[in-house]
Symmetry: C2
């Protein structure tokens, strides 16, 4: 039986989960995978945390050098996060010919080329299933499950924190601030929630997933990004009345015209499979030219779900001597040739406040018409006290820049009318 | 660049789709997968069908011997179906050292050991993603995506025909017979629909999927099977009133007590992700001890979706020289040690017709009590003309044999009461 030695860098939530899975399932993997995986070493500054997990004292390394020089260690798991020590340690491991399994989306998003070059030089493996959508095997699916397809589109709910907040706002009619606080109390959101609520986390993952799906490199900087901090309870309620649920979607599309990649709050029709993805669950909805629509659904975070992805990668690394860094194999310089589309097409939800007098609707309609924005549905939401009325409307599919121009035109009317909310709609 | 020669046995719906995908994507696979896949030969008795697909005359083989003796052919795709010629041809290909990709669930379900032995002897590959759930990469997921987990449960909507019929019955209030006819007209159901509507097709797939999930061999004969031919519009409507949607579920569970495997119509709570899987879509819902709940959703049949699975297997076969028949690697004799559970636990939906007079409900309640069947909810559905009333009830989780005994006890009351429907419920 093949023997494989593993080192874990970082014993936080995910590192701890990985340690537990590996130790509790060792006999199971011997039986079912014909491989004996032993945790040989951990690197964790807080020794008490390692000891509390049951790591034997002699397996706690003092520094990365001990690990990369240990011939018993074949696979190094990096779950430190960030792009400081994590990057340095991963490169050190790869340079020493060890395979690396990482959950680090920021590192992989920003430095995949550098890491892949190091891996190739030493014929080491580089695996990163855990970097995207926790335990959901979306990366293995893109690489080995639907690789026969040209992928034309991908829509994902790939951040659990924002999905939890939006689900609560939708189900309980509460404000963004209240739901964020609850998410923080439950450990679903960090004290500084910026990376999640402003869409950075989702954008890192979209960069990785769309690079794989579209066989090129989609840089983080090319992703249009908008978070959920401005979402009001009114918008969610009005959308529901019209048959839509609000989700933070990560969207990637590829066509002959180029690639578009964007993360923004999006109204999804109630009967779309993504509309039923609630709480901290995640899902990715893919469209391939042969397979059609496929969706993968599951827990996008957490010690054991993310640990599942890491350990599945470890087993893959231990049982496959090929396809070690196949992910970006033809993409090292691909981005030079890629056209990215900023003026994408979408349907839109607009919420306006307008003066309640004759002729205003005509003025607004004229501005929309001038910019080729046509309206599917419009609802006037009763009269407010100050003589102004809220107006909610859904547009046909139209160009982003046309909508922005129409919005600017309406806002230039001054007191007469104002666009309070612009949200995109997927039907 | 690696060159791979493929032969396709059978150019029916799936064979035709496979041929189209391979020929139209050849350059795409050269670019993205670094492999040149050429269809070298097809075996199809109806030459006109091959010619209509654009297969060059010289590539139409006259018999299997031509294919197995052709050194240019590395991979043989079997999409004939059934266990006659398909079995003979697959064994001939494996014996000649060619890898086999098959969509044949019945063949794989019944003869996996024989096929695997032949593959091992020649170090040939054996791939069967297309045998289950069309283009949805559920087999790759079990093998390489969630293999870190002990899988405790699996619930699948894995037959498109029955899901189409049940979806129509639910959405449009029509009868089983009408919806079956429509499915036949649309090509979703065969002229003889037995294999689909009686659950054989789902049971073949469940045998394969649960064998992989539970790392043993789950024989077809161990699967409890019940079809949808007896489903009435009343049951569907009553279930909806109680918050349930009816689906033909394939269920596999593994615990310390053993394995239970069953295919039967099942009420699923409206807010369960499986409840939203409609029309001819399929989905498999897995529960692993680390990853938690994961669902894969997509098209379970059709030329291009199933072709996607076949071609993804071809690419995998072409780019992986290991893990060729890893699926049942430790299971050849495993079934001898497995305990299968017949007296499984479930919640139940029961529909009774009872005489509308004092004391009857007491009698029925006594019988349920005697067999430890306790009731969650009971609804009396108005009075019929003949002095009898329909009674609908949902039980707590209870043992299958207890429910059967209670039903027999009630039916023994003669004219007084009769159980018309027994359906299982998943909440």
């Amino acid at each position: 039986m093949k023997k494989v030695g593993v080192a874990i860098l970082g014993l936080g939530v995910v590192g701890g989960g990985t340690y537990r899975i590996l130790t509790e399932h060792r006999e199971f993997y011997r039986k079912t995978q014909n491989v004996d995986i032993e945790v040989e070493s951990v690197l964790e500054l807080d020794r008490s945390r390692a000891l509390a997990l049951g790591v034997p004292e002699e397996k706690i390394a003092s520094n990365i050098a001990e690990i990369v020089s240990d011939p018993e260690i074949n696979i190094v798991v990096e779950v430190i996060g960030g792009i400081g020590a994590a990057r340095e340690f991963v490169l050190a491991a790869l340079n020493a010919g060890k395979s690396v399994v990482t959950s680090n989306k920021e590192l992989f998003c920003k430095y995949s080329h550098e890491l892949e070059r190091a891996a190739k030089r030493q014929n080491a493996g580089l695996y990163f299933e855990a970097s995207c959508v926790g335990g959901v095997p979306i990366i293995r699916t893109l690489l080995d499950g639907v690789q026969a397809n040209r992928i034309s589109g991908m829509m994902g709910i790939i951040n659990g924190t924002t999905n939890y907040i939006l689900t609560k706002m939708t189900a309980e009619g509460r404000s963004y601030e209240e739901c964020l606080k609850e998410a923080q109390k439950l450990g679903y959101a960090e004290a500084d929630p910026t990376a999640d609520v402003e869409g950075f986390d989702a954008a890192y993952k979209l960069s990785i997933l769309s690079s794989l799906a579209f066989h090129t490199k989609v840089p983080f900087a090319k992703i249009y990004r908008e978070g959920i901090t401005g979402i009001s309870q009114e918008d969610i309620a009005d959308g529901m009345d019209l048959g839509y649920v609000l989700k933070l979607l990560a969207i990637g599309k590829q066509s002959d015209e180029g690639i578009e990649v964007r993360v923004h709050p999006t109204f999804v029709r109630k009967d779309h499979p993504l509309a039923a993805v609630n709480d901290s669950f995640n899902a990715v909805y893919l469209t391939g030219d042969a397979v059609g629509d496929v969706m993968l659904y599951g827990r996008g975070a957490g010690a054991l779900p993310t640990g599942s992805a890491i350990v599945s990668d470890i087993i893959y690394a231990a049982t496959h001597s090929e396809n070690k860094y196949s992910t970006f194999k033809n993409t090292a310089n691909a981005e030079k040739d890629v056209k990215f589309i900023n003026n994408f097409k979408s349907a839109y939800y607009l919420r306006l406040t307008v003066e309640d007098r004759v002729g205003i609707l005509g003025k607004i309609a004229t501005i929309f018409g001038r910019h080729n924005v046509s309206i599917v549905e419009m609802v006037q939401k009763g009269t407010q006290q100050d003589g102004k009325v809220p107006l909610v409307l859904i547009t046909h599919e139209t160009k982003e820049l046309s909508v922005r121009a129409a919005v600017a035109g309406i806002n230039a009317l001054g007191e007469t009318a104002h666009v309070d909310t612009v949200l995109r709609v997927v039907s």
